[in-house]
């Protein structure tokens, strides 16, 4: 997870510094494993090195899950993660060979964050919390679960919209802003519902507040892109990376809500 997070940071810096084509060949860099680290090559080649490391770690993860995990669906998820990282490498190569075609660049951006969320989900599935299978009754379990899923879908659409804005130099900004408002509304709804549920407040309130904090930070960073032109490289990269954290957090919270929330039947109706 940590390496993948760093990879997303490195990838964000490649786009923000305009270094995507500083290495014109792939998979080698100027025909070498280690080209001179000058100019834009510093960003692009560092990104490739971290990607290679993440690829190796993902292979180890997939093999470990295959050998040690009893749940078949978790083994398949490990294989999916491996296929995703290979696909991501291929997309990265295609962006270089075909000189940053917009569609492939957007796919590369979206798959990066999808892969990060997949790893977050795998962390949850292999955690003690998940294995303990603790259940928490609450009156609005279905409603809360639906809200989490809807919010996560909106966040994923926001990821796509953000990638379009980034790789078309501002295209689709209206949709990006609209989705931001929708996500904010949904998170506030979730917060209010969870705050009313005494039995799950301890378990879910803090993570939802954390997610809402990330969203507030994201909105400030988004505004910062326009207000702080001199710091645009850092601000846009931080905005993109924070987006990955938001998506992964929403995915984890959604999965936890389905794992542990159950609708509480009121005593009067028994």
């Amino acid at each position: 997870m940590v390496s993948t997070f760093l990879l997303i940071v490195a990838g964000g810096l490649v786009t923000s510094t305009g270094s995507g084509l500083s290495v014109p060949d792939w998979p080698l860099s100027y025909g070498q494993m280690f080209p001179p680290m000058i100019g834009g090559i510093r960003f692009e080649h560092t990104h490739r090195l971290i990607a290679g490391f993440v690829g190796c770690l993902t292979l180890i993860l997939a093999i470990s899950l295959y050998l040690e995990e009893k749940r078949i669906w978790v083994k398949w998820l490990g294989l999916t993660a491996l296929l995703a990282v290979v696909a991501q490498a291929v997309l990265g190569g295609l962006t270089v060979i075909y000189l940053l075609p917009t569609t492939i660049s957007i796919l590369h951006a979206c798959l990066a964050q999808t892969f990060f969320s997949l790893l977050a989900a795998l962390c949850l599935f292999t955690s003690q919390e998940w294995k303990n299978d603790a259940v928490y009754p609450c009156q609005n379990a279905s409603s809360i679960q639906r809200l989490f899923v809807t919010t996560t879908i909106f966040i994923y659409l926001q990821l796509i919209a953000g990638a379009i804005v980034r790789h078309t130099k501002g295209g689709g900004l209206y949709y990006h802003l609209t989705l931001a408002a929708l996500i904010a509304m949904h998170l506030i709804f979730i917060l209010v519902k969870i705050a009313k549920e005494n039995k799950i407040r301890d378990k879910f309130l803090t993570p939802v507040i954390f997610l809402l904090s990330l969203l507030i930070l994201q909105i400030l960073l988004g505004a910062g892109v326009f207000v702080l032109p001199l710091s645009r490289i850092l601000v846009t990269t931080a905005h993109q990376v924070n987006g990955a954290l938001i998506l992964a957090s929403a995915v984890v919270l959604s999965l936890r809500s389905f794992r542990s929330l159950r609708t509480e039947i009121p005593r009067a109706s028994l």
């Binding site: 995507g20 500083s22 025909g31 001179p36 000058i38 100019g39 834009g40 090559i41 510093r42």
Partner: protein, 242 residues
């Protein structure tokens, strides 16, 4: 015998007269020139200092720093690096692309020339004179783009543009301050304003032309110019404001 000599001298004279008329007339029919100056009004913008820390070899080539050359106002109040060309008026005429290449060099971590013209199909010889790694990326919309790594000093590559385009930006993806512009045309009538702001479009056939001047920061301007035959020279000026 005497009649024979007279006959020969008269016919030789007639022949010489005809040849003078024909070649003399042909020699001046495409010799019109449109020349002039690019004037600049206002204060020259303060040049930005380019930071070359990203590559120690570039920094070594410019130990005192390097001023940006996006806007160069000459000492006589004219503007350098303006691309002037015939935009319209040559319909139906074709011009062969020269076989001689336009040399485009990377020296001192700068492109040279910064602004240049080239004909469709004419070779562009890209040279790396630096002891550092460059890459050349053409951002053409009409011709196939290229993005070429040039890691070795002395390395040469050749490329051509297949369709006209004004202007094609060329940039180095390793050194972000390096960029140049190529005016790709299907005719040879173009010029770039020099250190004294002057330009000249020579050997034009007679006609009614639209002449465009293009600057990377200040944009494009056009003028209509009519040139006749017989070594007609027209003097025009473009003026940009700072």
């Amino acid at each position: 015998m005497k009649n024979k000599r007279l006959f020969l001298s008269q016919n030789l004279g007639l022949l010489l007269w005809v040849l003078t008329f024909v070649f003399g007339f042909t020699g001046v029919s495409d010799a019109a020139t449109i020349a002039g100056k690019i004037l600049f009004e206002g204060a020259a913008p303060a040049p930005e200092t380019i930071k070359m820390g990203a590559d120690p070899k570039c920094q070594l080539a410019h130990p005192n720093g390097l001023a940006s050359d996006d806007v160069v106002v000459n000492s006589n109040g004219t503007l350098k690096n303006v691309f002037i060309y015939v935009k319209d008026g040559l319909a139906g005429k074709t011009f062969d692309a020269p076989k001689e290449a336009v040399v485009f060099d990377q020296k001192g971590c700068q492109y040279s020339p910064k602004i240049f013209g080239i004909q469709v199909g004419q070779p562009l010889e890209i040279l790396n004179s630096d002891d550092t790694l460059h890459n050349v990326h053409s951002l053409s919309a009409n011709s196939q783009q290229f993005n070429l790594g040039m890691p070795i000093k002395g390395m040469k590559l050749k490329k051509t543009f297949t369709k006209p385009e004004v202007m094609v930006k060329i940039k180095c993806e390793v050194h972000p301050w390096m960029h140049a512009y190529a005016g790709v045309l299907d005719h040879p009538f173009y010029s770039v304003s020099a250190d004294d702001g002057t330009f000249a479009l020579k050997n034009l056939p007679p006609g009614n032309y639209v002449i465009e001047a293009w600057h990377e920061k200040y944009g494009a301007q056009t003028q209509n110019v009519i040139v006749g035959s017989d070594a007609d020279t027209k003097d025009i000026q473009f003026q940009y404001k700072g």
